[in-house]
Amino acid sequence: MSLLQLPLREIHKRMTDGSLSALDLTKASLARIEEVDSKVRAFITVDGERALKEAKALDDQLAGKTESYGPLAGLPVGIKDNISTESVRTTAGSKHLSNYTPIYDATVVKRLRDAQTISVGKLNMDELAMGSSSETSFFHPTYNPWDLSRVPGGSSGGSAAAVAAGEVYFSLGTDTGGSIRQPAAFCGVVGLKPTYGRVSRYGLIAFASSLDQIGPLTKNVEDAAYVLQAIAGYDPMDSTSSEKKVPDYLAALSKDIKGIRIAIPKEMMGEGIQSGVRKRVEEAINVLEGLGAICEEVTLPHLEYAVATYYVISSAEASSNLARLDGIRYGMRVDGKDLIDMYKRTRGEGIGKEVKRRTLFGTLALSSDFYDKFYRKAQQVRTLIRQDYEKLFQQYDVIVGPTSPVTAFRIGERIEDPLTMYLNDICTVPVNLAGLPAISVPCGLADGLPVGLQIIGRAFDEATVLQVAHAYELQAKSLPQPSLEVREDEV
């Protein structure tokens, strides 16, 4: 068994008693990357030399100081490539940024270093986080460890696949409309999107600033609680980060869920949900009921408008945000006959189709002729969606349903049909529109592919989300290891 399969507590015990070092763990991670990443392609950049140096330095610094070992000490981690890392190339999966090296660390990167983890590299993603399959990356696709002919989901596809394939102990992803939860579901790992404002966005290459959040992808719920504990909290460098006190997430895990009230929106269980996915989620709900939770069917009346609302708002914000990719201060530049021509060529060549299409649509939605009809209207519907959730949370503690209506699809199957791809985001995008926390936990396999159970909580109540997820996970049958092969179709 690889060292990276050991439970967190066991690693901590061995680190503290000196029988295991950060260097051992980092070497194990790099060896696994060497062994499997030519198949999975989870990484854009592996920085082994630096990781080994940092691991060695950490071991020296901690040696003999038993009480100085934090719960995450020595763990090798991967960082999604839209999160800035000082002097390590950060591309956001874009040709435009393919040679960009940040001059500062994102706050989450600093906090993970303070938590004594070792970053081994940067993980593949859809270009600038736009996509649900990781196929829009300029560099290469990432392959789902459960079936290498399928996508790992996206946009944090590299983050999910690297954890599923055992290349890193955990990873960071970002979630604007489901980009942590959906790949977690597709790859059979845990993915947590915190409340908007819970984790600092400083140093994140912004896509849609009112929706983006950074969060962990881990092997289990307890690990997610530990990572959230390490990265959450106010940051003066992000004016939208919350000053609310960060509770003890680990303490929440020990509580049972007797009497917890769970809402099951019928819109998340109906038409358009693959039957295998629905079956696994229904079984998971039975498990929760068996643990004493009270589950009731409810309605989210504006859910059917969430995808349209999301694509108007996120594209509009992106069109404004991405104006900065102009080739002047950083990123590639293509010369032109004048300044405007230089901008157009730089952006024309440096930015891929998915991002261009959304930027063009966002520019349309913000233009004076369409502002009221599309952008303002979407912001108003966003209010109604938020209010739907607020009403439910007066009576219920969490909302449960599938993370994605489908399991991992084949590479190339949907890339030419963006609308179908967008409509699959129905279960995740409304959560970002309302700013709420949500987790995806594996709840079994459908036709051999992982299914994710989504648990959505009140704003800043990650504790209850983690509590319910943990209680479920303890009862659920754990998934086997992914095959890292191409699966033959069943006849």
Partner: protein
Amino acid sequence: MKLTKEQLEKLADISRFSLAEEEKELFLEQINQMIQLAEKLQEVNTEGVQPTIMGMPIANRMREDKRRPSVAREKVLACASDHKDGMFRVPAIFEE
């Protein structure tokens, strides 16, 4: 509504994208699908509904206007594809 090729070209112009002919054709079809999706919002009665602008209601945050260290100029300029005399260099903006 349906976007015309001329309107798409204008959008590309103000978004500062040079587009290849095949991109124009592809985007025309796909953006028209996105418009159709967005048209669905017209079904919703939003009379008197306040728009939601932020991810969470957070008021403006003030801080003291105090000097503090920033990143070194050379480090910032090193990220740029062209610079001279401590400044970013761009193609001429004014005609001779």
